[in-house]
């Protein structure tokens, strides 16, 4: 079966075949013989033909897979080629400059006004969560075209704080 993996901005063609015991998998140009077994709800025992053994933690959210290794975590989106086309179109029409709260917390200070021009890295809002003040910075330069919060307000994770329009 063929898939497209999206990882770190790249699209990698994938093929998976089931063998009598284990799998044959192509990742880009490389073929692997893989044995994969469940070790409880999250842990997976992964083994290559030469005996190389990895303990992986797997979590799936829709088509996004999070695979944790001992010293790193890999996020990869696995889709069939058809779904991928739809996604690409969505990305192009996407919300772009919406700055969201990545955690619930309290707005301590709003550092920009509607109409301000900001550079990449400029402070926008200070959010207090878990006893720390966290400055939320502009991910790109642009014009602040909307401010959705004010000081003292508490926000939920994912709440839109500020919107920046590209210059």
């Amino acid at each position: 079966m063929k898939f497209i993996a999206r990882h770190a901005g790249e699209e990698i063609p994938i093929e998976v075949e089931r063998l009598a015991s284990g799998y044959r998998v192509r990742v880009g140009e490389r073929w692997f013989i893989v044995d994969l077994a469940e070790a409880g709800r999250f842990l997976r025992s992964f083994r290559l033909e030469d005996g190389t053994q990895l303990a992986l933690i797997h979590h799936r959210d829709g088509t996004m897979h999070e695979i944790s290794l001992a010293d790193s975590t890999v996020h990869v989106d696995i889709t069939d080629p058809l779904s991928l086309k739809r996604k690409r179109i969505e990305d192009e029409m996407g919300a772009g400059g919406a700055i969201r709260a990545l955690m619930p917390g309290r707005i301590v200070r709003v550092m920009v006004h509607k109409g301000d021009a900001v550079r990449k890295g400029a402070g926008l809002v200070v959010l207090e969560a878990m006893k720390m003040e966290n400055e939320i910075q502009a991910p790109t330069e642009g014009i602040v075209d909307e401010v959705f919060v004010e000081a003292g307000q508490t926000v939920e994770s994912g709440a839109e704080l500020v919107h920046i329009a590209a210059l």
């Binding site: 990742v27 077994a37 997976r44 290794l69 010293d71 790193s72 990869v76 878990m130």
Partner: protein, 495 residues
Amino acid sequence: MKVLIANRGEIAVRVIRACRELGYSTVAVYSEPDRAALHVLYADQAMPIGPAPSRESYLRIDRIIDAAKKAGADAIHPGYGFLAENASFARACIDEGLIFVGPSAESIDAMGSKTESRQRMQAAGVPVVPGLTEPVRSFDEIAAFARNVGLPIMIKASAGGGGKGLRFVEREDDLHPAFERVTSEAQSFFGDSAVYAEKFIASPRHIEVQVLGDQHGNLLHIGERECTLQRRHQKVVEECPSPIVDEALRQKLGDMAVRAAKAVNYYSTGTIECLMGPDRQFYFLEMNTRLQVEHPVTEMVWGIDLVKEQLRVARGEKLALGDIKPSGHAIECRIYAEDPSRNFAPSPGLIRYMNLPQGPGVRNDNGVYSGYIVPVFYDPMLSKLICHAPTRADAIARMRRALIEYRVEGIETTIPFFTALMSHPDFAAAKFDTGFLDRNLAELTKERSGNGSVDAAIAAAAILAFEESQQVRLPENGDSPWKHAGRAEALKDRL
């Protein structure tokens, strides 16, 4: 004896463990979201003290004293943070006939004000860093001090501690914004906007000395800890002993610490924090009149239990440690619910799964469990991982091994950051100062990808997606392969 623990998280669990081993019963207190927190689960009794915000629960002296009386507690242990260094709380306990497991209110007062403590230390012949003699509220006074001693300086919340509410200022332009930020944090965290400034020692190390005293005038030091590795002035890794302190310097530091503590008639556990320059000159910074977060590294090396000693001293017993000697080396990593790859942004939420490090020389002082929801309201510490081994190199290797075993799924943690730090050559060589982490942060937090492990992860994800599309379950240990079963059950990762 029945002990109420006026705290939450790992330190409340730590104190419950000590009480249980001494045969004392324990009373937990909890805010609304902490109803099923680990410290509540491990206690013999649990008393509600209010809603989520600390100032309406864990900082409410009246409610905590009331809970203690309702539960029939004899003593209150404050842990660290919250009310641990609040002299009014210590007095309120005594007034209500409860034992306060800590020093006297007078000692807390004397050391609680950065300015008063400096004066008393100078009088006792303890070296201090040049700084303001009084807390101030106006920017002009800070500006004048900066002109006087020259930049860099530190601005700190006068009532602060534990690395909260302080800023380092190197450039004139940053002076005013820093003053504003510290004033704001001082007001919101400590209820007092007064600030204080001192000269900044270049390339310093942060060394601290553990002291322990009883109510009969006996007081001794129990070696030093190396706490130089800090991020935004918060300690993140601590060691015992310090790799740069030899026996002669240990004796000098210990004598200074005992002199400092005796100057305020100290008893219980306490810590004298010092800055040490590259010339090994040390300066008194402050005294923490409580148990320290990093107390386990001292415990493992010196073979003692500081919490049990606190409890014994609080009951009026005399110190009876015998002839204790340090042995080996211990390192502590503070495991936080923070995402190192996103500038250590807090990462609260549901812990879906945890694999804990176990085996020789590993101690995990935990405050959470698999299935726990890390709340957004409090400190993000999940646990303290401490490793002990005969030498510093062995302890680092053991910590690296333990970090590989320690896996958390559902929230992000600082584990990958510590894994990178334990492999850094400058850490191995103990070549660092208090600015080391902030200078090397990019290198320590960059995404790592072992030999081909990204490809392996992608292959695993692809197989799991494939199996899902085929409605087939993975072979489980002992199952014959390709057993067909309810797919949705087997692969959907939800609780």
